[in-house]
């Protein structure tokens, strides 16, 4: 292979490599560095006594996240009048 064709081959390989480098998948969403919350800690809703409120129909076991979620889901589903009014 002549030096000229070798040069052309190298230039072509460089051009292909440069072109393909633009095909890499980049993150399209701006990811900001999440600041660390500096304020006071908050308690979880299920850590409260369900009897602390006078007017509520929701019942759960204090400290039990699953039962609280079930109680809220029941309340949530009652927003669907297709289920309430049959």
């Amino acid at each position: 292979m002549s030096p000229a064709s070798r040069f052309i081959l190298a230039a072509a390989a460089l051009a292909v490599a440069t072109g393909l480098s633009a095909c890499g998948e980049r993150e399209q969403v701006i990811v900001y560095k999440q600041g660390k919350y500096q304020g006071k800690p908050d308690t979880k809703p299920w850590e409260n006594d369900p009897n602390a409120s006078l007017y509520t129909t929701s019942k759960w076991n204090k400290g039990d996240q699953t039962s609280w979620e079930a109680a809220v889901k029941t309340r949530n589903l009652s927003q669907n009048e297709y289920n309430r009014v049959q």
């Binding site: 999440q34 919350y37 304020g39 006071k40 908050d42 979880k44 409120s53 509520t56 949530n76």
Partner: protein, 207 residues
């Protein structure tokens, strides 16, 4: 649990402002601060008038959290975006960042002096002892700690405004749209920018 979200059904909202009133009453929101408001487009145009109730959408990737210089925002396990008023400096960056205009600033003095930011808490209170006087004074009612959902959604007379677990309310809305056969087209890309088969709106048409 999935994330707590609001969803407003524009086919059902009758612009009664019951949600706004319920929010004001439940949280004793001061004069000049509106955690929730009803936005109406094509007001008075028969057949084209649509209303939605807007408040903090408790974004999964909240811009207010990103821009806050004192990092006073946090997200609860239920996906509710809350903030610590003791830390807030009332700079207003969150207001500029929020696409919904949710952050509100009470007037704290003469010449438009801003107080600490106030916004919808999804009726989840804030970083004070749950159901305490301090929590109520700063953040309003904590209904989630009582096993309830936000007052605005539970008070909505037409059940246009749904609040709660995003998956559940999406199912309710989906069932609704299927039953009545319309309604979901109010939102989305096609509505905002036109569908490919639709002709472009004539020049000078009201948006």
């Amino acid at each position: 649990m999935a994330r707590m979200k609001f969803l407003c059904d524009a086919e059902r909202c009758i612009e009664c402002n019951g949600c706004v009133t319920a929010c004001k009453n439940e949280n004793e929101v001061p004069w000049g601060v509106n955690r929730r408001r009803v936005v109406t487009i094509n007001d008075g145009v028969v057949g084209a008038e649509k209303s939605i109730s807007v408040a903090c959408m408790h974004c999964s990737d909240a811009p207010c959290m990103a821009v806050c210089p004192v990092d006073c925002f946090y997200r609860t396990d239920e996906g509710v975006v809350l903030h610590d008023k003791d830390l807030c400096i009332g700079c207003g960056y969150c207001f500029y960042a929020c696409p919904f205009g949710a952050p509100q600033f009470p007037q704290a003095g003469a010449f438009g002096l801003r107080g600490k930011m106030d916004k919808c808490t999804f009726c989840a209170g804030g970083p004070e002892k749950d159901l305490s006087k301090e929590e109520f004074a700063k953040y309003g009612s904590n209904r989630l700690a009582q096993g309830k959902l936000p007052a605005c959604a539970e008070m909505c007379s037409t059940k246009a405004l749904l609040g709660g677990d995003g998956d559940v309310i999406a199912d309710i809305y989906r069932q609704r749209v299927l039953k009545r056969g319309k309604g979901s087209e109010v939102w989305g890309w096609g509505t905002a920018y036109g569908k490919p088969e639709q002709k472009a709106a004539p020049a000078g048409a009201k948006s």
